[in-house]
Amino acid sequence: MAKIIKGPTTRELMSQLASESEGLSTNDRRDFLRKGIAAVGGVAAASVAGTATASDALLNSNNLPPNEPTWGKQLGHGVIEYPYGNPSKFESDVVRRTVPWLTAESISSISMTPLHELKGIITPNGLVFERYHGGVPTINPEEHRLIIHGLVERPLIFTMEDLMRFPSESHIKFLECPANGGMEWRGAQMEALQFTHGMLSCCEWTGVPLRVLLEEAGVKPEGKWVLAEGADGAHMSRSIPIEKCLDDALIVYAQNGEMLRPEQGYPVRLLNPGWEGNTSIKWLRRLEVGDKPWHHREETSKYTDLMADGRARRFTFVQETNSVITSPCPEKPILSPGMIEIEGLAWSGRGKIKQVDVSFDGGVSWTPANLKGLVLEKALTRFSLVTKWDGQPWLLQARAIDETGYVQPTLKQLREVRGVESIYHKNAIHTWKVANTGEVTNVQLS
């Protein structure tokens, strides 16, 4: 039967509290249940989850000062208990999520990164958004090969060992699906930041520049395009202009200090910094140099942008300047009036972020925010603005400007040029409505 999602009844909550209290000492248990009963009223009255009332009451006061908490009165586990460590069990909510009705099933589908939970600009490997067209292949790296052929002087075949002998480079770059936000061309419908902007991640990628491999093979003068192809069941393929291949395209075998995750193309992938994620072919097995593009399925039927007049744009590679406020957001409401740090992420496929402005009144007036931490080309850039919230409603927006001078557009401006059916490349200024309760919802302004 279908799982019907509803709030817990008092009885369910009590039974949950009882089961969670198992394993506690008699005194702890009594205290836990007593606090739990107090919580039931709080939960029933609260409209937004995770309110201070409910969660505070669920705490075991025996672990709070002035008492010595249980973990201070016993020993923890030793080394190598977890040879590869995991996040704390209390962080189990920080996971990728999907919107199932977007795709037919989970094998050719997408999941989103929990941007509201991330700190800094790096996405942990286990949280990088997923996009598969034929599921994740299990590839033995010793049996994986990369072939470069076509219009080259010498066709080459590489083992992973060969590729990793080349001098390596590491670069922090964002990776974004061009459909990020694409469900909202017609109107707001995603009720969480994870779903409005979560097809976005940023890692330190390590590998060898594609330029170096192409130099090894010797590209013939008539070679103008490169077909990149994956080894997965979908054999994903995209045509990449030679200029990008000789510029900053990277043959990547590691992310954030360790070998690529299977989800990200283990053992080797292409990375086209700043370009739509779909071009960064995962599980890369073949690069063919040709004189023309191939017009394959992922650059004709999909990943082309249909305009209102029925014509369509092709080879829309660049991810243009974009930004979003990550705190507050629907998942992270404002907890109480007072000082608040507005935080968010900005990024541009054309270079560095130069400036981010924040508006509290739906774009009537704007205040410059500060960029904090690393400001890198084609990487997520974190911005911050410390201000005060007195419980007044806000129409909160961020607007990014990159080093080329491009100013992030409004949705109205994009719609005027492109209509509402282009699916991809919606980089419009995003609006969060902050209610006087601190609750945050996704809205659009016209």
């Binding site: 279908a2 999602i5 709030g7 989850a49 909510d93 919107v99 199932p100 795709t103 037919a104 099933e105 989970s106 034929g134 052929h149 066709p155 075949i157 590729l163 001098p167 707001a188 419908q189 995603m190 009720e191 969480a192 779903f195 520049p209 170096v212 130099e215 077909l227 069941g233 979908a234 054999h235 393929s237 073949r286 063919e288 017009h295 394959h296 399925r297 004709t300 039927s301 209102a308 014509r311 369509a312 744009r313 092709r314 080879f315 660049v318 243009e320 629907p330 400036q355 739906g362 009537v364 007036s365 704007w366 607007r399 557009p409 409004t410 401006q413 994009l414 996704n442 809205v443 302004l445």
Partner: protein
Amino acid sequence: MFNSLKPTLVAAAVAGSLVAGSVNAGESFGFGRTATAEEIAGWDIDVRPDGLGLPVGEGSVEDGEGLYEAKCAVCHGLFGEGEGRWPVLVGGQGTLDQDRPTKTVGSYWPFASTLYDYIYRAMPFTAPRSLTPNETYAISAYILYMNEIVEDDFVLTNENLGDIKMPNEENFFVDPRPDVKNTRCMSDCKDPDSIMITGTIGGVTPVSHFVEGADGPAASHEEQHALEQAKEKERLKALGVEVEEESHSAKPAELSAAAKEGKATYEGACAACHGMGIAGAPKLGDQAAWEARIAQGMDVLVDHAINGYQGDNGIMPAKGGRMDLSDEAVANAVAYMAESSQ
């Protein structure tokens, strides 16, 4: 950085005789080796609009019909109309500039070569790279025929594929972005009274992880499918239609050795349809759906799975399209599904 380092590194390597003798110029690292023509040929499957890359071969609309029905219709529908959320292949002409356009091979795809290329590299979904070139020509021909691009007696070949003109070819153009120009206004940028706020419609996204009591779609494809099936059953019941109820055993299945063997095959080959019960496939764990099937005897079930079967609600392609699987592997996967659904 890299360029300035390279000559030094190579010089050191050569001087120290650390690289085996294949380095023929100071500029080359010499890692990897020359790929043989045979190695390249096995992987060089791509096809271009001008026909470059097509293998010698041919396939008729007539041959394509049977192949399409056996291998493609389970997801794309008998008439290319698309089952569930699987891609629609046929129709949609004249809708591209309308509200809710339908992008199909006939209405949208600019080149016929893409059809051959994609089918050969990735289809059928559950059994990629299982089709021969001739089968691929035939299925491509049939899809072109369904879209009224070729006649029913057409035979698609490596010679004529590049000559086919797709109706929408001229309507693609190269990316003109940046196409909008915003300015960095700081104050009085618009009239506050002109702002209209449009909110989200609740219940569209799975938000139960942060909204208590949220009534929305499920968080996984399996749960969402079950939710939609339940809604459909409610709708049918309201119309007075008798519907089969799904039922599940409370106790975990005790699996035979064969069934345990079959689990991996199920996950890699069968779960795409049987995991959620799409296209009429009996769903793993659904006792009601499996009961009558199991009653026919396991020999019949295994025979249908290996050789294919046309049921009232859908098609079971032979081996689910995975002709690389042994009969034994399929039989074990059937045992796994049947034993998990009792």
